[in-house]
């Protein structure tokens, strides 16, 4: 972990979808730490600094996968191979990656596939891993081929049915659960989706971990910006990943969040 930005060069950019790009860069694991799936980085583009999940953990190389939704992310999309960014971290309590010989289901909605890709890739070797990659439409589906290549059972799922399962990730999960069961689940996506998934998995008694997002400033656990009701946990330290028993104590989950001023919305 490093708490001041380390300047790295973008070594590769993958246009994953019309709105999502993956950026790769070198990261000396020995000097800077070896991140675990589910952890995130603070990315500084010299105008602003925001949190991004780690989407790939290779040998001394990391990737982030960014959806262009506003000023900062569109600036990231303007980067080219060779461009510099500042990176600090990795931060947060990531996914439990200690599984072996288990049936794992990982569910990612939209760019929520970023951390899901990291954990699914990590566990694929020693576990039977299935991934629901959900998006609104075919063009926005993430990581189908790369996950298939490493032996993951990939279940694409689109809201509009343009590819794979037609419907929401929740529907797709219910569908899968008719014929199968899983030992453990990993989930990241819009909170409303995670809420639905959470209820289904709870009902099926499948334990799991959920990766949350809140507005972040320090990512060091001091500024309090990312604290959630009603236990006060910091998404940047106690999170972003929480087990299902903890999700129940995050009373604001899928209800509200706070903006940069701390005003709820």
């Amino acid at each position: 972990m490093i708490n001041e930005p380390k300047i790295v060069e973008i070594t590769e950019i993958i246009e994953e979808t019309p709105t999502i790009k993956t950026f790769k860069f070198n990261w000396d694991f020995e000097k800077l730490g070896r991140p675990n799936p589910g952890e995130f980085l603070m990315i500084w583009n010299f105008n602003n600094e925001k949190p991004m999940s780690i989407s790939q953990i290779n040998d001394n190389e990391l990737a982030i996968t960014v959806k262009n939704i506003g000023e900062f992310t569109s600036q990231l999309h303007d980067l080219e191979v060779g461009s510099q960014i500042g990176v600090r971290g990795s931060y947060g309590h990531g996914f439990d990656n200690s599984f072996k010989g288990k049936r794992i289901i990982a569910i990612g909605g939209g760019v929520g596939m970023a951390p899901v890709n990291a954990i699914a890739s990590y566990l694929a070797k020693d576990n039977d891993v299935s991934v629901i990659s959900a998006a609104q439409t075919k063009d926005e589906l993430l990581f189908l081929d790369s996950l298939k290549d490493i032996g993951v059972n990939v279940y694409p799922c689109t809201d509009d049915g343009s590819f794979g399962f037609e419907g929401f990730a929740t529907n797709c999960l219910e569908d899968l659960l008719e014929d199968a069961t899983y030992d453990y689940a990993f989930v990241c996506g819009p909170e409303i989706m995670m809420k639905g998934i959470f209820e289904i998995l709870e009902a099926s008694e499948i334990p799991g971990q959920y990766s949350l997002e809140r507005y972040m400033k320090c990512a060091l656990g001091v500024c309090g910006q990312c604290c959630v009701d009603s236990e006060g946990w910091r998404i940047c330290v106690e999170g972003p990943v929480f087990e299902n028993d903890k999700i129940n104590q995050i009373t604001e989950f899928a209800k509200y969040r706070r903006d940069a001023s701390g005003v709820k919305y």
Binding site: M42, G86, C218, C227, K264
Partner: protein, 301 residues
């Protein structure tokens, strides 16, 4: 044994959360209280919501961090809702407020005093917008005006939080005392400081400068407490780089009746409060101190 009393307000122990660290909502402050703090100081808030500076707002430096969060807060109306939800029984709840004019301060005092045990005036943030924070606390005149207005408006004890970034802190301390402050807390962040990233030749913080906190500022905080203790008669709260019970003892011996803990939470987690209380109690037992009271200021003898 760990009890301490400041301006008639009873603390279960001398440790409280420092302003601006994790104190952004009732949930996090309740967590800190459950973790062993005798009191909490809220994030500093103002009349209106304020988003603070653009990121990066914090960066690590040797011995601590520098920050220019920029006093982001959801405004007094929203913050009152948080204050109401804090567990006040047996705990001391302190609101930290900031503004630019005497009017803003007295309005804030009136708005929040029924929900808190004390009010701390942030006249010391070193990276605040012009007219706010240290712009006040670096001037005797402005400090006097703001502290007077707040003290006049308040039924609860008023703490003036001082900046170390002045030529002579005892002068400001005496001015605040004269103006009616019931207590002083010191120090707010030091410097400010700057971190330049040499690969891109740019200051890391978007605000360029940021106040320094953490272990490295302790010697300077202790000296300020020591000096101010000799200059005023009102009680002092020490803050700056406290990580261990040994640090707390240093501040108490220098003249503090209680302390605030901030950046240590980054390195040690919220467990730092319980750990320090335990160590402090053991230390007192070993050395034969029966109360915090006995220990206050004895490095002056």
């Amino acid at each position: 044994m760990l009890k301490t009393n400041i301006c008639g307000v009873e603390f279960q122990n001398p440790l409280m959360l420092a302003a601006g660290i994790m104190g952004s909502n009732a949930s996090s402050m309740n967590w800190i209280l459950k973790s062993g703090a005798g009191g909490v100081v809220s994030k500093s808030f103002s009349l209106n919501p304020h988003p603070g500076y653009v990121n990066p707002t914090t960066v690590a430096v040797e011995g601590g961090i520098i920050n220019a969060i920029g006093l982001s807060n959801p405004g007094v109306e929203n913050f009152k809702e948080e204050l109401k939800k804090i567990e006040r029984e047996d705990n001391v709840v302190i609101a930290s407020i900031y503004g630019a004019t005497p009017d803003e301060f007295s309005k804030l005092v009136e708005e929040v005093q029924e929900y808190v045990d004390m009010i701390e005036l942030n006249i010391s943030c070193p990276h605040a917008m012009d007219g706010y924070g240290a712009s006040i606390g670096q001037s005797c005149d402005l400090s006097h005006t703001i502290v007077s207005a707040s003290a006049d408006a308040s039924d609860v004890p008023i703490i003036a939080k001082l900046t170390p970034n002045v030529t002579d802190i005892t002068e400001i301390a005496k001015t605040c005392e004269d103006a009616g402050a019931d207590c002083l807390s010191l120090i707010n962040t030091l410097g400010p400081g700057m971190k330049i990233n040499i690969d891109v030749a740019k200051p890391v913080l978007s605000n360029k400068f940021g106040g320094m906190s953490g272990r490295a500022i302790k010697p300077i905080a202790v000296r300020n407490v020591y000096s101010v203790y000799e200059a005023v008669d009102i009680p002092l709260i020490g803050v700056g780089g406290i990580y261990t019970f040994e640090d707390v003892v240093e501040f108490i011996f220098a003249g503090a009746r209680a302390v605030q803990i901030g950046t240590a939470i980054m390195d040690e987690g919220v467990d730092v409060f319980a750990k320090i209380n335990e160590g402090l109690e053991k230390f007192m037992a070993e050395k034969g101190y029966n109360s915090i009271d006995e220990m206050v200021g004895i490095a002056h003898d």
